[in-house]
């Protein structure tokens, strides 16, 4: 099971790849603020499916679920299948 640091590193890389080098706090909005685009949400979803076994087809999807590192981490804590 990966933890918050890995999530932070992954999101940081996504932001850097899109030219965003601004500081990143765990509570910062990622998608609703526009720092990441909807197509970047897919990267986060695939990351969560592959590393935490989360099945969005089962639990449904809402971009607010993954809008910050804190929220992503909370999601992994409540729904991860323990990969």
């Amino acid at each position: 099971m990966k933890g918050k640091t890995e999530i932070h590193d992954f999101v940081r890389e996504l932001l850097t790849n899109s030219g965003d080098d601004e500081p990143l706090e765990d509570q910062d909005s990622l998608l609703i603020s526009g720092r990441l685009q909807s197509i970047d949400a897919v990267e986060i979803v695939v990351f969560l499916e592959e590393n935490f076994g989360i099945d969005f087809a089962q639990i449904g999807f809402d971009r607010e679920q993954i809008d910050s590192i804190d929220l992503i981490y909370a999601l992994t804590q409540t729904t991860a299948s323990g990969h």
């Binding site: 030219g19 685009q37 909807s38 197509i39 949400a41 695939v46 969005f56 999807f61 809402d62």
Partner: protein, 501 residues
Amino acid sequence: MQDNQAQAIIEDQLRKHPGVRDTEVFFDDRDGCVALVVPDDTYMDHISGRAASGANVLSKWRKTFDLSQLTKEAASAPVGFNTIGWNSSYTRQPIPTDEIREWVENTVRDILQLAPKTVYEIGCGTGMLLMRIAPGCKRYAAADFSPVVLNRLREQLGTIPALAERVEVMERSADNFDGIDDDSFDTVVLNSVAQYFPSAAYLTEVLEGAIRIVKPGGHIYIGDNRSLPLLPAFESSVELFQAADAMRAEDLRTRTRRREEREQELVLSPAYFLTLRHRHPKVSRVDIRPLGGRADNEMTRYRFAAILYIGGETKASTQEEFLDWTEYKWTLSEIRFMLMAHGNERIGIQHIRNSRVEKDLAALAILRDADNELSAAELRQRLEPTPVQGIHPQDLIDLESEGLGYSVILSWAACRPDGSYDACFVPKELRQGITSPAICWPEPEAREFMRLANAPGQGKMRNELIAQLLTHCSQHLPPELVPREITLVDSLARPCGKIES
């Protein structure tokens, strides 16, 4: 050294770089020269890596659409009006449903004017167009690449058995025309779909398939395309809208540049569609139209529809004469009076200033030249007193229903970066039942054919290539021959105006 000798030396040097497929250098009235460079596709693929590969981009968009239909809102969306995922770039909130409704109704009206009876829709989504167009058709085949979206569509069709039995739903990618015979549909529709294609080359592949399956006399309607000539105005307007009052002009410019670099969607010049006339003998003419509508949003301001006429159509027989709006700056009332006075003559007006984008273009002009310290609040203040002089396209369209005896047709084919458009007023008795008369619209200037589309997701790599080329020139040429500016283009417009593909 003479300019033409210097030109040849610089072009030779640039061609030695593996990222350059072709180049043309010219000297203007400023110091130094400008180099136009057509990038080498293989080299761009090499520096882009897997992330920008077409298959990878399509797979990401497919997943995006799949996810959009896994939301609670999607499950309860009304039949034929599932607007999930339609968010404003400005507010990042959903676009108001009445604005989407107007957009859908205008699109449907435009397609129905083509009198479709057998339709193949590529990228049908949850059926916003299908539900409104299919009832009047003999056959409607609807394709989409997202299985989750199609499940949602099938659920909705299940509630309307009479419609379900005449609609064929297919899960397939846009470029897959397997099993579809030549000349088997009268209309192909791609609406709000092309922006999710990975490149103009992929769009061309899709359109080649579409052209093959449309019978002579039919049409291909490619709607809701994002406009490349107006992309700078759009990107800067979004940044200005979102900027805090204290944001400096320098930071606004940086953010606008970054937004352009990050652009993930395919943005097209109307000129791209115009080139299809020369590349495909089956395409007899191409119309480019700004979207109708009163809503003020990014679709009405910055998107256009392209209609390809397949075979069968007669081309415009005479060269139209267009009056130049910029000479007289007619108001709407003056145009109305002109129509009343002329009775049954066809009247064309070109270069009509577009009130929808006037403010955004004024803001872009201020931002380009502004002092670094100018704040966003000051920029907005400078814009406030600017009176709107242009004419709203919908105001002209509405003249048609005033009983003046004219049909009104608008065109954005000229691709002007000032957003201006052209109008043709055709006496209704001259139309003689022709739904869309052939009009010889003003053409774009040759330079507009040099850049036909952006390269989604490759902005950063393209800037990297420009930096590499400047370094390459600095290392191999004397300082006075290093280009002042390098611009990447899709093709080179030769002096005679002929375009190299």
